[in-house]
């Protein structure tokens, strides 16, 4: 099976869907002539032309609104946000238009738009450009939120997102674009709303999604070397959420550590913690642990930048706490 980058997997997904359906368009800052700020749309302008691969001005609220409008009248736009930090400018469009139209039109208006871009901290980007948006977007009923962690899942899920009739926020990460993984040549889809066990284990369930998954898998391996068996569950999709997969695993291992690279207060991880405590109460042998970013704006200093984020060591320590070792 060919090994390709996360970046290539996303490009292939868009390419295949644009070839399959001429209503699929791509728009955003520097997606066309510059081939994307992170080169995700490499070659798409040449292949599909400037009518379907559109450079927009630096006006997030404006072009996000244009994308939503285009979706309302029949196109299937992919709106690239250069980073999710900039989507704060467009938040009202997502919250009040994309997420509400189906409901407020009594089911008449569908908004098949995908908003995608890098989310969460990269490196040396300081407070305003290192933020995680999973809690903000997952908070809103009416949109779907995808957060894959492998090139395989990214390609299959982006294709599903493009075909979905609902607005989908598709979370990537700058440092993930160069990650490599096996992706088959033949076409496949990965449905939204299905979690995936990335590693089978017995004594503790580690649950995460998107970029922290790599760190979580490293922690699971390190735990195995110390004689502990950790199961790793990749949520892949935050809305809809595969609750069943979570409960099955936690009921098996009796212990759970959640890893969410976001602030802890009112975060997606805290919500998961409540779900698990409610639905797996009698199966829990220890309180659910939550490993998150510290509750501070991101420091610029690199050592501190790393210190405030989850780490393999922090995950291992949390796993040991719930295993009482």
């Amino acid at each position: 099976m060919p090994v390709i980058t996360f970046r290539q997997a996303l490009k292939d997904a868009m390419d295949e869907e644009m070839a399959r359906d001429q209503n699929v368009i791509l728009m955003g800052e520097e997606v066309a002539q510059y081939n994307g700020a992170y080169k995700v749309s490499q070659g798409l302008l040449d292949k599909y032309g400037s009518e379907r691969v559109i450079d927009t001005p630096i006006t997030e609220e404006g072009f996000t609104g244009v994308g939503i409008g285009a979706a309302l009248v029949g196109l299937r736009p992919i709106v690239e946000w250069m980073t999710l930090n900039f989507s704060a400018q467009a938040f009202d469009q997502v919250l009040n238009n994309a997420a509400k139209m189906l409901h407020m039109s009594g089911g008449q208006l569908r908004v098949p738009v995908v908003f995608r871009g890098p989310n969460g901290p990269a490196e040396y980007l300081s407070s305003q450009h290192s933020q995680s948006f999973q809690a903000f977007y997952s908070h809103i009923p009416g949109i779907k939120v995808a957060a894959p962690s492998t090139p395989y899942d990214a390609k299959g899920m982006l294709k599903s997102a493009i075909r979905d009739d609902n607005p989908v926020v598709f979370l990537e990460a700058e440092l993930m674009y160069s990650w490599k993984g096996e992706v088959p040549e033949e076409e496949y889809l990965v449905p939204l709303g299905k979690a995936d066990i990335k590693r089978v284990g017995e004594e503790v369930t580690l649950i995460s999604f998107s970029k922290p998954m790599q760190m979580v898998l490293e922690a699971a391996e390190a735990l195995e070397k110390e004689g502990y068996s950790a199961e790793v569950l990749d949520l892949r999709s935050l809305r809809p959420l595969d609750e069943q997969a979570i409960y099955e695993s936690v009921r098996k291992t009796n212990r759970c550590v959640l890893i969410d690279n976001d602030w802890p207060v009112a975060g997606f991880g805290s919500y998961l913690g409540w779900l698990i405590s409610k639905n797996c109460f009698d199966s829990l042998d220890a309180p659910v642990e939550l490993v998150t970013m510290e509750d501070v704006p991101m420091p610029y200093n690199h050592a501190m930048e790393l210190a405030v984020q989850p780490s393999v060591e922090k995950i291992m320590n949390a796993a040991k706490r719930v295993m009482y070792v």
Partner: protein, 463 residues
């Protein structure tokens, strides 16, 4: 942060412990699993392994002092820490406990009263209602499963606030019938967690086979080797049914918590058997069969209990409950256990009516159809093994009652009559087990002596 070191339940039934000696003194550092003191429980002297780490800052209960399970006995923390609040809280608790103890000198844990079971008890049902018979009868049948479930989970969940256990550990303990209070938690702050339950189960399993050993002896000249019921000669583990667990739990609880004593008396059963013969000979053919000796014994016991209301009573911790009615249970053996159907209000019923009700109850007992209110809440219990040829035995009290009468086989014996001649008498041995917390020896003896007189000269009691 400083923490209180709590008295742990070092035996399944321990409610209070006495510090025999401290192995650590104030200022000593303590690691987990260090033996910090020795505690005399209700059964033995046990070593107290620390679940805390740090410095022993304060000993709250000195050598020779007592503490209830869950009460603080020491404070552990970092040296130099301010522990005045913890010490004060502990002292206040001790003072209020002392005040309560002064008010009720023999206070026990009221919420832990066992539901049934002695010579024969039964399925779970909370007792302690002031009028068990009335309450049970008034309750809709559908309320029973919920109550039963509550009782089962109560077995797994400690009533003491000081005990920590994970939800999983509590659930497992409930399912496996383990008394979680008897365990020592290995989690933070002594929390009982999954591995502690698993350890307890492994220990229980390792004790099992020794008790169940069946050795196949060598076959000698035509005598078959003694083999186990399976004939294979191998040990066999029999899973314990829910009913068996409850019987075990209730009987243990009764035997361990109620101080039993036993009174034995020989009774001339002749007059009773003669009266029975007369009644039976006059009964219409369709009356439903012969009146059983048990119906006579129940009636005589009820009449005697009327004279001794202090025997028809229950230990309730800080009160003694005198029952308003006389509800007498009869122990009935079943294939998979035993059960105690209850004839209600025996004091106001005749022998024939008691016998008819008893027959219906026994039929239901043998077909497992008794409703909980039909087998619980007895104020007095009778157990008879006479039909198995047993001459005499002692029975375990069936709570909430405080006494149980064990009835032996009626058998003919030669006796020297008052005039020196030798006669033949139908003798029966009665053994009364009493809860000394409720019934003192003299009262128990007077009751049993009056019961004997009632059986031998029933007409005397009509005066």
């Amino acid at each position: 942060m400083a923490e209180q070191v709590l008295m742990l339940a070092l035996s399944p039934t321990m409610e209070e412990g006495t510090i025999v000696s401290w192995h650590k003194k104030e200022g000593d550092s303590i690691a987990q699993s260090d033996i910090i003191c020795e505690v005399e429980t209700d059964k033995a002297t046990m070593e107290y392994e620390s679940v805390n780490e740090g410095t022993l800052l304060k000993i709250l209960v000195p050598e020779g002092g007592q503490a209830k399970v869950g009460d603080p006995i020491a404070v552990v923390g970092e040296s130099g820490e301010d522990i005045s609040a913890l010490v004060e809280a502990a002292e206040q608790k001790a003072e209020s406990a002392a005040a309560a103890a002064a008010a009720a000198p023999a206070k026990a844990e009221p919420e832990e009263k066992p539901a049934a079971a002695a010579g024969v008890p039964a399925m779970p049902k909370p007792e302690a209602a002031p009028e068990p018979s009335a309450a049970a009868a008034a309750e809709p049948a559908k309320a029973e499963p919920a109550k039963a479930a509550a009782q089962v989970s109560a077995a797994g969940i400690p009533a003491t606030g000081g005990l920590k256990a994970s939800p999983l550990a509590r659930k497992m303990a409930g399912e496996q019938g383990i008394d979680i209070r008897a365990l020592r938690g290995s989690g933070p702050g002594g929390r009982i967690v999954k591995r502690d339950i698993e350890k307890a189960l492994r220990q229980a399993a390792s004790y099992g086979p020794a008790a169940a050993v069946e050795v196949a002896g060598p076959a000698i000249a035509g005598i078959p080797a003694a083999a186990g019921p399976t004939g294979s000669g191998r040990d066999e583990k029999i899973p314990v049914s829910g009913k068996r667990k409850i019987i075990a739990q209730r009987l243990s609880e009764s035997k361990y918590s109620a101080p039993h004593y036993y009174l034995r008396i020989e009774v001339d059963a002749g007059p009773m058997m003669a009266a029975r013969g007369r009644i039976n000979s006059r009964l219409p053919k369709d009356a439903g069969g012969k009146v059983s000796p048990n119906a006579f014994l129940i009636k005589f016991a009820a009449e005697t209990l009327k004279k001794y209301p202090s025997v028809n009573a229950s230990w309730q911790g800080d009160t003694i409950l005198r029952f308003g009615k006389i509800d007498i249970a009869l122990a009935v053996a079943q294939e998979d256990g035993l059960i105690t159907p209850v004839v209600r209000d025996c004091g106001s019923k005749g022998i024939v009516q008691i016998d008819r009700e008893l027959k219906v109850l026994i039929d239901k007992a043998l077909t497992n159809k008794l409703a909980p209110e039909e087998y619980s809440g007895a104020t007095f219990t009778i157990s008879s093994l006479g039909t198995s040829g047993i001459l005499e035995f002692t029975a375990i009290i069936n709570p909430p009652g405080s006494a149980i009468l064990a009835v032996g086989r009626i058998h003919k014996v030669p006796v020297v009559e008052d005039d020196g001649s030798i006669g033949v008498r139908s003798q029966m041995m009665l053994t009364l087990s009493c809860d000394h917390r409720v019934i003192d020896g003299a009262v128990g003896a007077a009751f049993l002596s009056d019961l004997k007189a009632m059986i031998e000269y029933p007409i005397d009691h009509l005066y």
